[in-house]
Symmetry: C2
Subunit: 448 residues, 2 copies
């Protein structure tokens, strides 16, 4: 995997000298993904020159591996003719991803220059909503008639291979393109030559519809160990396939989004340094403000107990400790439950069991922290009533944290919202307010 | 994908009656993954009976789809003979995963009962460390001699198909099993029949070594759009392959771990309800205690400023607000930087750029929150000096948060530790202490 780095000195030299002929020689021995990685160190203009120099199949393969932002920049340095050539040759799913990033005017200017077949394909794929199966599928699947004898299948597949994203799964449809079955190339290979494709195919085909979420597609791949999945329209007609490599990309993208939501950042699709500073500031600022407004209630709660802590000023020393313990235990619960919901390990009907378990967990963890807190307070020579207040409050706050952390994602899911949005900081803010109230209530009872 | 649910009433009835014959009829029409999903609702004993009733290839396929905890429970209800039969028939990678969960004594008792070939295979695979390429690979790859004419390749592949995890990638090795090249079935299919496999194969093969981390394997799949990757030993000899379906499992597992680390939970491999309460309590309690001990320093810091807030008691009202704002901004930075490091978007040499960017971001976000905080303090009729203290402290605390959140993951990576361990709560605890010090320092300057 470090292959590409070995070439770095040569490449740097060739770029320095503008020796694009040597570059081509080097690049043609490399995997397109490695070339794309090397190109990211160059300006869009240099990249566009290299793409043009590389011969057709290779140049396109490299271009497809660039990230979409770089692709659009590179296109802006290419003439109409080269742009249209690249668009026509790209695989349909990558092409649509790119076109969606261009301005509608640019797309409208480019479309008439493209061949009829590709133009129709683009118009069809552009209509599907973002993050749906339709948006990530390709229309270049392999299909064979069910009546074909196995002996004739291989020559047929050889002929359609250049226009198929994969020939390892072959789809069988009726005259109206309704999906009837699927046969893997492996099954075709080991079948008797006299059998027909229909006799070899499996009829019970795992499929998705065009408007299903891309996460459903990823889950199906995972469950059924697929290489590709057929995508059908509402009438059950085969309109495309999603292949395994696109699913990996979807999983990484979704994972990044989930992690960012957990960290209270609105999902950012661009790489860290490519994202514009101000769009990032807006996304981060929005969440921060939201959490800040929630956290303002801690002030409201504290005002309510101003007399209490004015009377026993040492109470203040434990405020951050107590609220953060509730926040941390809540954060653990929200993480576990959100993930378990996403993986289908916990369902809505398990709500009662979840609550019972998190309640018990909160009691155990709360007592554990309560004991440490008690010892610490005594070490600070706090009066026993204060030490007791701290430890009782810790139990109550940790229990509140685990319960709120477990219930909120389930509640949000029930309301049809994404539980991942219940990010740990959000739960922490809520638990902070609850923690303050609990702490001073306990203090009023035990001290005053 | 809801196919399986349609059968639920029939299945429930058959189980009720103990009518395993009808169950078999139903199950044989379903995908093994769907059957495995349905079985999870039954006791291990019922599952073991059904596995035994299903005919060999189907029963094994279903068994392989169960999670490992269920597999071990099911085995304990099967006799030696059935256990050995299942182990012999399982695919080598799934088999080793299972054996690793059994006690060493059980494994030693079972191994002598297995056929020589499988026994050797198990011993070989068991030696690779957890989470390495060696631990997730299978030894059943397809291989052809380089001198073979393409015309003879298909009959050969047909013969080895039953013992190969995939025949879509064919590996070519020399007499010492050193990896020479790879040919896809697609390439073989479209090649001229007179060519030899050596002429068709690609020599520049992306590969991993047995002891490389499974995350490297996943990254290679993603970058090169692979169906399988060859695994070689230190001498470059081919020892196995990792296939695309195993990579999806790796990605989900690693994602769960990352998310749990972010949420301050030690990674939990079992599903939520399967994990034992006390092991979960220990894992959660360990982290909570660690964070709690860190958070104790907020008390130490507050004690240091006891006179300050005893003098201006209203200062206390803003403590949770200010510390949590630092924690939240730090949490955002740590999330973005950790993820960017994991995806390779940010490297160690970018440290200076990262710091500059997060510093600027902290100033912008801090001023934004500072203004809101100022207005809020004025609305509570705080004296202007207090309102000013709050807003100046907010700027300083948010900047500290973004800087600490950006630097710590990079520092940890530099020290060879996993940056994901720098979970948001951990950063938040650290920033809390810093926030208190900053806040009261500002207060001492502006108020006292």
């Amino acid at each position: 995997m470090q292959v590409s780095q070995l070439f770095m000195p040569e490449i740097a030299e060739a770029i320095e000298k503008g020796d694009f002929e040597s570059l081509r020689a080097v690049f043609e021995d490399l995997h397109p993904s490695d070339v794309a990685e090397l190109l990211t160190h160059l300006t869009p203009e240099s990249i566009s020159r290299i793409i043009r120099i590389l011969r057709a199949p290779n140049g396109i393969a490299v271009f497809e591996q660039l990230n979409i932002e770089t692709q659009t920049q590179v296109l802006s340095h290419l003439g109409r003719h080269d742009t249209v050539m690249i668009l026509e040759e790209m695989s349909p799913d990558d092409r649509v991803d790119l076109l969606q990033k261009l301005s509608p005017e640019t797309v409208e200017a480019l479309l008439p220059l493209m061949a009829q077949a590709e133009r129709d394909d683009v118009r069809k794929l552009l209509q599907y909503g973002e993050n749906t199966a339709g948006a990530i599928m390709t229309t270049e699947y392999a299909s064979l008639p069910g009546s074909l004898p196995v002996s004739e299948a291989l020559p047929k597949l050889r002929a359609i291979a250049p226009d198929s994203e994969t020939i390892y799964y072959v789809y069988i449809t009726d005259a109206e393109r309704k999906l009837l079955g699927i046969a893997s190339l492996r099954e075709i290979l080991v079948a008797r030559p006299t059998q027909t494709i229909r006799e070899v195919m499996a009829e019970n085909v795992v499929r998705v519809t065009v408007d299903q979420d891309q996460e459903d597609v990823a889950r199906a791949f995972q469950k059924y160990d697929l290489l590709a999945i057929p995508v059908v329209d509402k009438e059950g007609r085969l309109v495309g396939i999603v292949t395994h490599d696109d699913v990996l990309d979807v999983m990484v993208k979704e994972q990044t989004e989930d992690v960012q939501k957990m960290g209270a950042v609105e999902p950012i699709t661009e790489p860290y340094f490519k994202a514009s500073f101000w769009s990032l500031a807006r996304k981060r600022g929005g969440w921060l403000m939201f959490l800040f407004l929630g956290e303002l209630f801690t002030g409201t709660a504290l005002r309510h107990y101003e007399e209490t802590f004015a009377h026993t000023i040492a109470l203040v020393l434990f405020v951050p400790l107590i609220v953060s313990s509730g926040g941390n235990s809540g954060s653990q619960s929200v993480t576990l439950i959100t993930r378990a919901l996403a993986l289908g390990e916990v369902r809505m009907r398990d709500a009662f069991r979840v609550v019972r378990r998190e309640l018990a967990m909160g009691v155990v963890l709360g007592i554990f922290l309560g004991v440490i807190g008690y010892l610490r307070a005594m070490m600070w020579h706090s009066p026993p009533s204060l030490a007791l207040t701290v430890s009782v409050a810790l139990v109550a706050v940790v229990v509140s944290g685990t319960l709120i952390g477990a219930l909120l994602p389930m509640l949000f899911k029930k309301m049809g919202l994404d539980p991942a949005i219940m990010s740990s900081p959000f739960v922490a803010s809520l638990v902070d307010v609850v923690g303050i109230v609990v702490y001073f209530k306990v203090a009023q009872i035990l001290i005053m």
